[in-house]
Symmetry: C2
Subunit: 461 residues, 2 copies
Amino acid sequence: MDNTQGKWPDHVGILALEIVVPSTYVNQTDLELHDGVSKGKYTIGLGQERMAFCSDREDVVSLCLTAVSLLMHRTKTSYSNIGRLEVGTETPVDKSKSIKSMLMRLFDNCNNVEGVDSTNACYGGTAALFNSIAWLESSAWDGRLALVVAADVATYARGGARPTGGAGAVAMLLGPNAPLVLDRELRASHMADTYDFYKGDMGTNYPTVDGKVSIRCYFEALYNCYYLYRKRFLKKFADTDNTNTPNNTSPKSVLQHFDAIVFHSPYGKLVRKAFTWLTLHDVQLDAKCYEDESDLLKYVNSDISVNMLSELGVIKDTDKLFKKLTAPTQKLPKNIGNMYTASIFGGLISYLLSKPINEMAGKRIAMFSFGSGMCSSFYSITIRPGEKLETLIDLLQHVPVMLENRQSTSTVEFENTLTNRELAYNKAPFEPTSNVDNLFPDSWYLTHIDSTFKRYYAQKK
Amino acid sequence: MDNTQGKWPDHVGILALEIVVPSTYVNQTDLELHDGVSKGKYTIGLGQERMAFCSDREDVVSLCLTAVSLLMHRTKTSYSNIGRLEVGTETPVDKSKSIKSMLMRLFDNCNNVEGVDSTNACYGGTAALFNSIAWLESSAWDGRLALVVAADVATYARGGARPTGGAGAVAMLLGPNAPLVLDRELRASHMADTYDFYKGDMGTNYPTVDGKVSIRCYFEALYNCYYLYRKRFLKKFADTDNTNTPNNTSPKSVLQHFDAIVFHSPYGKLVRKAFTWLTLHDVQLDAKCYEDESDLLKYVNSDISVNMLSELGVIKDTDKLFKKLTAPTQKLPKNIGNMYTASIFGGLISYLLSKPINEMAGKRIAMFSFGSGMCSSFYSITIRPGEKLETLIDLLQHVPVMLENRQSTSTVEFENTLTNRELAYNKAPFEPTSNVDNLFPDSWYLTHIDSTFKRYYAQKK
């Protein structure tokens, strides 16, 4: 325990990550055909490739159980060394009992584990992360580690939003002396009362979505968060000349200090636009830092609206920067779909798998988390080299293999599965019928729901 | 900002509290008659006097809006001085959008406010409190204050549990140099996967309850939490002889160090039993500290089961201690009913109103928070004398007046209101019909829910 002196422990952050996705996916090209839309509407128009979805054997609880048990097993962590566990989700299966409480079945007699569920749309995982990081820096910390799980099953009613679904869980082990350190004092949030996407109807598993308003909220949140983050950055580094790096005489904007920018990713195209929009705003905030970028300098005095971004020229002008900073964060989001609360951490994992470990040391990652309704934050992570970083990245090597080992499913089966989930929503008693053989090894799965809505799970051996 | 050196600020805790209850209640004696049960079944058997309930104008969101706006107004706090706002509830009105986001409408252009909703049954308010206290001690703290709101509308289907309902919200302003300081490093939790009380059926506003299992869980949690808290206390004060106070040669058990013990209160009788059970366990843990208490020493070697407690003798033997330590925390819980997440803070407010301010200085309050499912914690608060304590208590002086100014409602009207709420559950569009005149001044209320489940509120002027 490092905090007996009333001080924060050093380098608090992420020690290890685990991601769990269903073993089935549907190809977005197949869906385009099936839905009778123009070729490329989902793959180019939305920027998505494959979409994960759950059979009736899997739900948000089973995904969480699998993610936590795999992370604990692979990192050889004892459950007695966990002092806090928190779940971020917007796919609740109970209005009162937390998913965190359901995960306690994994903990045997280690019951002294703080934390509950955190909810606000796709932002809940970030809230859980922030809460747990604060716990590690607080007087409540008892020297043990924290676990955060972000998990969701994202499905939409038939129509335009359906191809933007997805499913998955990311579990994170947190503690001091971590290889991925959350930058202290650099964080900004933007919260407001909006109805862009919500689930006010308790009688359905689908959200109510106003896509246009949601996009407007996303961009408003991004701008306000970055603007405030930038102010904090400049204040924190007021004594140093932050616009110059030590070995480089060219000035740098705050945005240019990042080696990667991870955005919450409902679908790839929105992230592409968001990157462009953020960059153009940064050009306007810090024109002098972009003196060598003639493609961008022309936007210094332009009034940029989100709609303008669809014009190919604007997007194209930021292409080089996008390929460097954000494209490497897109592999998982494009191949899984929107995991809601877990989505941003899927982006982080994508980046960590995108280049050799020796290129990672000292890199700084920007994270933009957005949840409709709305809650959003902009924060950053610094990568510390060393053995722990190697371990963290080693533990992720199975992820690309797992993604390839999934089964491609026909669009008809995909539609049937979603219809069945729709019919099974809030049904009790309920007996799932899907074959357990199709699940990945060690997966937890739903065995049944009894007539009083109690849920029962088992682990595939 | 005190934490620029990486250190915790001093005396982090509660600066001010506000409680909001509906303006209507039903008498438990009237309910006994109405339900045709034996006289005293609810008043003596459950230990309850009055039960608050909401008309169709009020819900968990309106209670939160009222509590926050009154607390901010009465403490003359600027919304720009709030850096974090978190809601604890188990009465969600949306599966995705947080109540926290709905409260942002109060914040004008002050959008940089962290925090979301925390959920696990009656424990959610405690989770929100712990999270916010940790934020104040962490590197994320920016010098502003935190707000926590715990709020619920507790209603039960017709039957034995119905008289254990209630409704209300408690808002708390948190910061450093507070008059109510959360004791550092003294906290213990007990979490487990149980189905004693839950809301797995999304089609109803009522919980599924297994009363017997719930009581067993409550006692198991209490024992485990106290046992662990006690161990921490003894470890923390290992260097001093903690069993002796400086000016008193008689030994003290850890429990005897408290001047008040607040229990989560589903109903008074359970708290009464819990107090007895805790005391008898403490006698067994620390017999030497009870040498002068012949009434209790006889239980040193007895095997105490929860069922045994109903025998009048056992309860009676702890009566003197109960009257001193816990009876003063019962006024609000008995007169409001179970406010779920807010219940424990109603107990705290009761204690703060129970004696003259000059008797409060230095007092230590134990807090036992329990949420079914289950999550529970035992923690403690030390009262710091001074101007800020006077302000905090001054701000609560309206509470007993408010409780008396409520309208007593007939049991028929109470039943009709609950039936109407049952029929209105998840109904959209929905227009409330209750008269706004009956609400307390400055109350927020539901104006309507539109056909897409968007909720609209206004404030009574």
